[in-house]
């Protein structure tokens, strides 16, 4: 047993986190910054932060993750990181020539109190930032929130720095997705395109962290939202936040800053959430749902009905990030599965994940969010009430192996399988992929575990 020391029964803890179900803000900010075109994410702290974040993102995406660091020394930690950041700007623009540098802070620079607004101002004054180039920043202290908060903060920074209301609406709808895969972002754009809607989407990491292999390395791949589009989002007719924790803050700011009407939806994962998304788009834009999307939806529903017997009543425990979890829980409900546990280390904030889950599953489901809600706790929970399937990130594999429970890999990080960056789980087509994966897992188990006389040829 790999997790042999996890005792059964819930252990009361107030200080020790064991096997976290979250990570720190800056990595989310770095990921969001990759969703701007020609942007260099910059980590203002020790070089270890940047190394860890790049390593983690690289392991997950199997693609180059480019980012720079202020490389704090002990001296800069005492005297402040201004000199390091100014030198960094010079080196980055000279060597790597991005259009934008997106700076995120770290626990180190936050504790010493570096004032990013002031340092960036000084950089402009001292001509450390060439004409036409821009530096934006987000405060992402690692001691609050999680990687999802960091993502939200950088998305919000994009609005703050770029979005402008010229007084003339541009007829576009702005889409702000939460921390999801590039494939999922593409799929959301696909839906908007099919509906004939002109959209702006940021952050957009599609064609950045799932770039093709063609014999060339590009420091800034062709994807990413151009800053001009983020600027124009201030003139858009509406903004849709897809995910309350990861996307809503940026959308709300677009509302306050540029008076763009905001709609907050769940991530379009599964039928219900995708239906809501499509329906909202339809109403805002005043368009009909095209035949192509009706077909995609119909195919998903077709599979859901045809194979319902294999998902109905199956017990599921989920671990991950709130926005994805919420939609996944809804999808489980759509497929007739019973959710036993929902756990995230990300603090719930004002978003009551628990309330939403209870609306669907009542008081029986166990929902754990925030401090000390970690995989150690999750392990103890699933030991008490065993699910048929666990949905979560790669680190769940130890629990799954010890307990012989199948694992559906969703969320961040996925270090040990590939495909999530190419094959979406959002939209109707993503729903088909997701459902097929779930069906394969249950049907393979049935084939493996059935008594000899009960092995079915046709399923």
């Amino acid at each position: 047993m790999l997790l042999r020391h996890t005792p059964s029964g819930l252990s009361e803890r107030k200080a020790l986190t064991i096997n976290p179900a979250k990570t720190c803000q800056p990595i989310g900010a770095m990921y969001a910054a990759l969703g701007l075109h020609n942007c260099m994410p910059h980590s203002h702290g020790s070089q270890g932060c940047c190394a860890y974040h790049r390593s983690s993102l690289t392991r997950h995406y199997n693609d180059p993750i480019m980012a720079t660091t202020s490389s704090f020394s002990e001296g800069s930690s005492v005297f402040g990181g201004q000199a390091n950041l100014l030198e960094a700007f010079t080196n980055i623009f000279t060597l790597y020539n991005p259009d934008i540098i997106a700076v995120n802070t770290t626990c180190l620079s936050e504790v010493i109190g570096d004032d990013l607004v002031q340092i960036i101002k000084k950089a402009y004054e001292e001509k450390k930032i060439p004409d036409g180039k821009i530096v934006i920043h987000a405060n992402t202290p690692s001691f609050t929130g999680s990687h999802i908060t960091g993502y939200a903060n950088m998305a919000t920074a994009m609005v703050k720095y770029f979005a402008q209301n010229t007084g003339k609406r541009n007829g576009k709808i702005t889409l702000i997705p939460s921390f999801i895969e590039p494939s999922d972002m593409s799929e959301i754009k696909h839906i908007a395109s099919e509906m004939g809607i002109k959209y702006i989407m940021f952050p957009d990491t599609s064609d950045v962290v799932n770039s093709p292999m063609d014999g060339h390395f590009r420091m800034y791949p062709k994807g990413g939202c151009p800053k001009e589009s983020v600027t124009a989002s201030g003139d858009s007719n509406a903004v849709i936040a897809l995910g309350r924790l990861g996307a809503m803050p940026a959308a709300r700011l677009l509302d306050t800053q540029c008076k763009v009407p905001v709609h907050v939806l769940d991530l379009p994962i599964g039928i219900t959430a995708t239906d809501n998304f499509v329906d909202t788009l339809r109403k805002i834009a005043g368009v009909a749902v095209p035949e192509s999307l009706r077909k995609e939806r119909g195919q998903l529903v077709d599979i859901l009905c045809d194979m319902n017997q294999y998902t109905y009543g199956k017990k599921v425990s989920l671990l991950g990030d709130p926005d994805i979890l919420l939609s996944m829980v809804q999808f489980c409900k759509d497929a007739g599965m019973e959710v036993l546990h929902v756990l995230t280390g990300t603090p719930p904030g004002k978003v009551k994940l628990e309330d939403r889950v209870r609306e669907l599953y009542g008081n029986k489901v166990i929902v754990k969010t925030g401090l000390q809600c970690d995989m150690f706790m999750f392990h103890q929970l699933v030991q008490e009430n065993r699910p048929d399937l666990i949905m979560g990130n790669t680190y769940c594999k130890y629990i799954c192996r010890d307990m012989d429970i199948p694992l559906l890999r969703i969320g961040y990080p996925i270090y040990d399988r590939i495909g999530q960056s190419y094959v979406p789980i959002t939209g109707y087509r993503g729903g088909i992929h997701l459902l097929l994966k779930i069906l394969s897992i249950f049907m393979d188990r049935q084939d493996r575990d059935a008594e000899e006389e009960n092995v079915e040829l046709i399923m």
């Binding site: 702290g45 020394s73 002990e74 950041l85 060597l95 000390q372």
Partner: protein, 547 residues
Amino acid sequence: METYQLSVPGEQFREEVSDAYSPKLGKKRKKQIIVNNVDESDSVPEILANTRTAPGIISMRGCAYAGCKGVVLGPTRDILQITHGPIGCGFYSWLTRRNKTRPTTPEAENYMQYAMSTDLQEDEIVFGGEKKLMAAIDEAVALFHPRAIGIFATCPVGLIGDDVHAVARAAEEKYPGVNIFGFSCEGYKGVSQSAGHHIANNKVFTDVVGQIDKPKEGKFRLNILGEYNIGGDAFEIERIAALCGVTLHSTFSGNSIYDEFASAHTADLNVVMCHRSINYLAEMMELKYGIPWFKVNLVGAEATSKSFRKIAAFFKDTELIERTDHVIETEMEIVQKVRDEIRPRCEGKTAILFVGGSRAHHYQDLLREIGVVTIAAGYEFAHRDDYEGRKVLPTIVVDADSRNIEELTVTADENRYRPRISEEEKSVRESEGFTFSDYRGMMPEMPVGTLVIDDCNHYELEKLIEYYHPDLVCAGIKEKYIVQKQGIPMKQLHSYDYMGPFAGFRGAVNFYREIDRLLNCNAFKFAKAPWDESPELTATYGFVASE
């Protein structure tokens, strides 16, 4: 001395690359980009190393915490490790270095799969985190009953003034049966992971080694220092050691346990694999306990043979020497067969290596065995002695960043200092060509004319590929796909791309086969599509493309 003629002279590369930087940075980089030369007295040009990375430069380096917790202590399965800080550091160092471990019984302590952290929150940053750390230790002891706990400080912990050592002492009073020790390995210390290695060495030396005076059974007892069992390397080394008949008392720190560390001072010899990360411990154990040390290399079949022969020669036992010879002979038969098969397919290919503090050196041996030439190499976090050899130690200037890392003053232990060989015998042996406390460094073993680059950054890596079109690049995960997008196979030499072992004899066979696959597989040939090879159009059917 072997010479290699680069397609573009190394001097030209250095000049042109340095020109891209600001004059100040360019001047510095010129001292870190060296065209190798080795003269008759084994002297090589001086290289600037262990110096700060310029802010904004995309470096391969990590931090002191990574070096301490991730590298040195990480592989030990029964020291419960608590990261004191916000959640990130503990999360990223959770199992990502692939240190394998093999508990002796299904019940034996093994915390490898557990990542523990105090997950400091804003309140604790403001009011101090010591109370939470103490509470975390209480909870850890109650849940796991460990015999040892290591506490690892992260950046903010140092700044807010939390004293991990004071908490460790207080906790030890509370739990007398548990050895609890802290590491001040805040990420901003030093210039790279190297600072963390040193900090780890110091604490392991003062608080762990020497705690248990019970030696392991065995006639020829030694410790291996600086072998971290990535991909099972230590397992292979253990296998060879057992075949030869030497007793591996402890490995620092691959597949290791606390008791082995605590009694490591009872062994009779220390051999050092990764010189950079652990030479401190070897030095200190010699001063305090009288255990001699020498450098070995267990990567590469020839180097492994040479190293085990040296170990046998140290113990001066005819039976051991003969048995070792026999083992090498048997093992080499298999190795040679594979090498003969693979070498013709790899002969003359070129590689560049940028890894750690010893791998960029050791893996050149393995590559050479199948005819692959290393045309450029460098370390992420090494010091001058790792490049130029320990003979330059007296001339290394200690800068402010290094001065901040504690240098322990070590004296002979009153009761336990026991020179394993007398000074006289040592001199006799040295006069016969046996070397102690040695490391020749990487540069004397590289061909003249090749490039040696310290703290090679992304820009320089791109330029190296552009100038020299290597057939293979070896570095870490951050570099992996930058290289592979260009259609060049890339081998991770930190994590081995989740393969291994690559050490010892079986490891050599694995590595030959892996490099053969990388250099000769079909996959990379598809980087260019056929229409990119011949873009001219000749219409056959005359379809009109629709918009």
